[in-house]
């Protein structure tokens, strides 16, 4: 609950380009608490903890490597690169 209040307050602050980082960080803290305590991950066997870590890791792989492609391309304010052979 406290977390949600902080989230909204933080949203109305302007941290410049860290906005998204702060918002996601708060969400992650909330999510971690749910996983650890509501889902009893803290008291679960190591295997369960490994399963949780792996799922997050795989999601990270998908996001990171895809963004690695997009972020290292020339930016033109639209998604598709102008080098591909179609015209919007």
């Amino acid at each position: 609950m406290l977390g949600t209040a902080i989230t909204i307050w933080a949203a109305f602050q302007n941290f410049g380009k860290f906005n998204i980082v702060i918002a996601l960080a708060i969400a992650t803290i909330k999510a971690t608490l749910v996983v650890l305590y509501f889902m009893h991950a803290r008291y679960s066997p190591k295997r369960t903890q490994l399963v949780i870590v792996c799922s997050v890791f795989w999601l990270a792989i998908m996001l990171a490597l895809t963004l690695a492609d997009y972020d290292t391309r020339p930016h033109e304010g639209r998604l598709a690169s102008a080098n591909t052979c179609y015209h919007a």
Binding site: I8, V34, L59, L79
Partner: protein, 243 residues
Amino acid sequence: MHRTGDLYGHFQTLEQQKETATLGMWIFLVTEVLFFGGLFLTYTINRSAFSTAFGIGSNTLDITLGAGNTVVLIMSSLTMAMAVWSAQVGKKKLVSIFLIATLGLGTVFLGVKAIEYKQKFDHHLVPGRSFDMKYHPTHPMPGDDPKELALEKKEVEEAFAHDPDINAHGQLYFSLYFGMTGLHALHMIVGAGLLLWLIKGSFAGRFTPQYNTPVEIVGLYWHFVDIVWIYLFPLLYLIDRHR
């Protein structure tokens, strides 16, 4: 396979059965992480390209309803956890009470979402032929705050000047909004169904300290659905509120 009491025939002990069921649910949740993950990736790529449209789209969402829903859902996670605890300590009546509370809160969440969806429909913000981000500011609805409406109109006009394709890009935002919250709501409806099944079982006194696996694994599922919303809320509602 045949069942003697709570033990299915292909297991050796109740302990093995519970371990199996729990691991099974965790692995299912892994698949859900990757399933929603694809949507989150699509969101990330689209938002970084069209931040203006996403900002405006986000500002049309009602933050009170969104925040309220977040609180409701987290509370329902709490009552779900309490239901599991009650089963583990053998307080059968409490199990039913907490399960019903969870279902109730979940229904409130879905009701609020329905209201929000209707609002979007009225404002011509549902992707499709009648989508138009300029519609609401120029067609006030009863109950609209004129000051906020004027602000919205200004924002939309500025954005149009900056990005003439704002309707197309705004549609991307709203497609993702409806897609992600819709998928989430679908999961909640399934969860509600599971809760109903559990409530029925709890009235029959099925859940004891020796056997409460169904409550526990539905609990895991419910908490997961909560976590998805915990990420959806800031990503959809809080993109550009600092203005």
